[in-house]
């Protein structure tokens, strides 16, 4: 069984993003970049399936500029077998990425495609669902548990009311939620080994996909700032303020 994991290079989750003065976007120059944390969970899940003997090969794909090869290398250092880089310039929207992945699915025939439920930069939460739609395959989104057996995936999903379990036929698309697993760190020997693992380049033209954006970003602004308030001395003062000043209790 073969798994394809899609990963995105994003501003590291610990970085406090800064909006550019000209409102064209956020500052990315000299900012630490990392793999989208939800995608790390996706890589980890694929590796665990391989270690359990369910899966024979884990391929990792990312689309973007030359730097995304670093992100692919990170996944290879965690233990993935090989990488696929789809070189693209400029902003890629989820629909375009889903089309690239759909074309790649036809080429690679994976039994499972896993990716994070959303990227922490644009917070779209779309690509997995879109890929499943385009490939005409079922989806298991926001997964907190994944069990494979008899050509099916049983997926426990985090939903607003609690948890829901669905059974979907393979091939399928899974998107990961936070509690699916805790991703491993790459060890130094594995980082060295990853340097020798192959990364194949496949262009959008090879895949026959038009990646032109459908959305135009007119401006990016800072959110309204919440001013800090006052420190109260004790519970009595707090309750008094809430009752008489804020009038919320």
């Amino acid at each position: 069984m073969k798994v394809l994991v899609a990963v995105k290079r994003v501003i590291d989750f610990n970085v406090k993003v800064r909006v550019k003065a000209d409102q064209s976007g956020v500052e990315t120059a000299n900012v630490k970049m990392s793999m989208n944390p939800f995608d790390e969970i996706a890589v980890e899940e694929a590796l665990r399936l391989k270690e359990a003997g369910t899966v024979s090969e884990v391929a990792v794909v990312s689309a973007g500029g030359p730097q995304v090869q670093e992100t692919i290398r990170t996944a290879l250092a965690m233990g993935a077998d090989r990488g696929i880089h789809i070189p693209c310039e400029g902003d890629l929207e989820p629909l375009a990425v889903a089309k690239l992945l759909k074309a790649l699915m036809e080429k690679e025939s994976p039994d499972l495609v896993i990716m994070g439920k959303q990227a922490i930069d644009d917070d779209c939460n779309q690509t997995g669902q879109m890929l499943a739609a385009l490939a005409n395959r079922p989806q298991g989104t926001f997964a907190s548990k994944l069990v494979l057996s008899d050509g099916k995936a049983e997926v426990t999903r985090e939903i607003d009311g609690g948890l829901e379990t669905v059974s979907i036929d393979l091939p399928a698309v899974i998107t990961t939620d936070l509690r699916l697993n805790e991703p491993r760190y790459a060890s130094l020997p594995n980082i060295m080994k990853a340097k020798k693992k192959p990364i194949e380049e496949v262009t959008p033209q090879d895949l026959g996909v038009d990646v032109t954006p459908r959305l135009e970003t007119l401006k990016v602004e800072d959110p309204p700032v919440r001013a800090g308030g006052v420190i109260v001395a004790d519970v009595d003062e707090l309750l008094d303020k809430l009752k008489n000043e804020a009038k919320v209790i």
């Binding site: 979907i168 990016v220 959110p223 707090l238 303020k241």
Partner: protein, 309 residues
């Protein structure tokens, strides 16, 4: 202009998030149609017809929609899309699961989690966990949009008298099925619609100590929430999580107890009217956004509050 709203419902009633989506639709202008896709969902369709500002309700009543499977509902939306300029759903786990799938079937992009309507094709949405706000314009023929409920008032549940039209099922894709669910049962208000919320974090130390939070919640008629750290540590179930990847809330009063205030948590609470922080670490970032801060040991504060409320 004509707007189709995919309603979130439990077959008997319409979920509150749908009412906020109706308000966003009203701001777009044009006729508002609500789609209720469910099984034995006549009561939900009737409830949708009463919402103020709704012109028409489409009711697709079929076993294929009994568990809101995205594969089936998205296909239904796709088959109905012709003639609509906008298709909206609440940005809940329901809408987020189904609507991007429908958008891809229509070969259009989705505009996720909008917080403001600037025009028929222009919207504002948070990016980077709410640390920046983008204004985006769509060039797609049909705008497919999920709506952040806390950014739009709720439409009135009563006042409308829309006609309910039964429509044909678009069938079952046949490759996905519902197995079961574990839904949290609680007599407390729901997080996303509660007027008062009290949330606990890592500072609570264990599941048992959440009873201290619950005691205050019961006095205030409040919903109980939690930080990601508290959920990851297993103190409370996942659906308690407030924050960018959990629930986005905007109550009149949000009390954060033993929560340091990671940016992902702050992103989910910053539209609250009043924020209270109770934490023994005076350096905790939560104090920077709190209207009222109390630097104290929560194990002393919570029982005292319960007694004095």
């Amino acid at each position: 202009m004509a707007v189709l709203i995919l309603a979130e419902h439990d077959h008997a009633t319409i979920r509150p998030a749908t009412l906020h989506t109706v308000t966003a639709a009203a701001q777009l202008g044009g006729e508002v149609t609500i789609l209720v896709a469910g099984e034995n969902c006549g009561a939900a369709a009737e409830a949708a017809a009463k919402i103020a500002g709704v012109a028409k309700v489409l009711c697709a009543d079929d076993g294929a929609y009994g568990h809101h499977l995205a594969e089936n509902v998205a296909w239904l939306v796709k088959t109905l899309a012709d003639g609509y300029s906008h298709i909206l759903a609440p940005a809940t786990t329901y809408g987020k699961n189904i609507l991007p799938r429908a958008a891809a079937l229509l070969d259009v992009t989705q505009i996720s989690d909008i917080i403001a309507v600037e025009g028929a094709d222009t919207f504002r949405r948070p990016i980077y966990a709410g640390n920046a706000i983008a204004t985006v314009r769509s060039s797609d023929a049909i705008k497919v949009i999920t709506v952040r409920g806390t950014a739009f008032e709720s439409a009135a549940e009563e006042g409308g008298s829309a006609a309910v039209e039964a429509i044909e099922s678009a069938g079952d894709a046949g490759y996905s099925g519902f197995v079961g669910h574990e839904l949290s049962k609680s007599d407390r208000p729901e997080l996303t619609s509660a007027r008062v919320i009290i949330s606990g974090g890592r500072g609570l130390q264990n599941s048992e100590n959440f009873k201290l939070i619950e005691a205050v919640a019961d006095k205030l008629g409040a919903a109980v929430g939690a930080s990601r750290a508290a959920v990851d540590s297993g103190f409370v179930p996942n659906d308690f999580q407030v924050g960018q990847t959990g629930k986005i809330v905007a109550p009149d009063l949000y009390m954060a107890v033993g929560i340091s205030g990671a940016i992902q948590h702050l992103a989910g609470i910053k539209d609250s009217k009043v924020i209270v922080a109770i934490n023994k670490d005076e350096e905790a970032p939560i104090f920077q956004v709190a209207d009222y801060g109390l630097v104290a040991d929560l194990f002393e504060v919570l029982p005292e509050m319960t007694e004095k409320l």
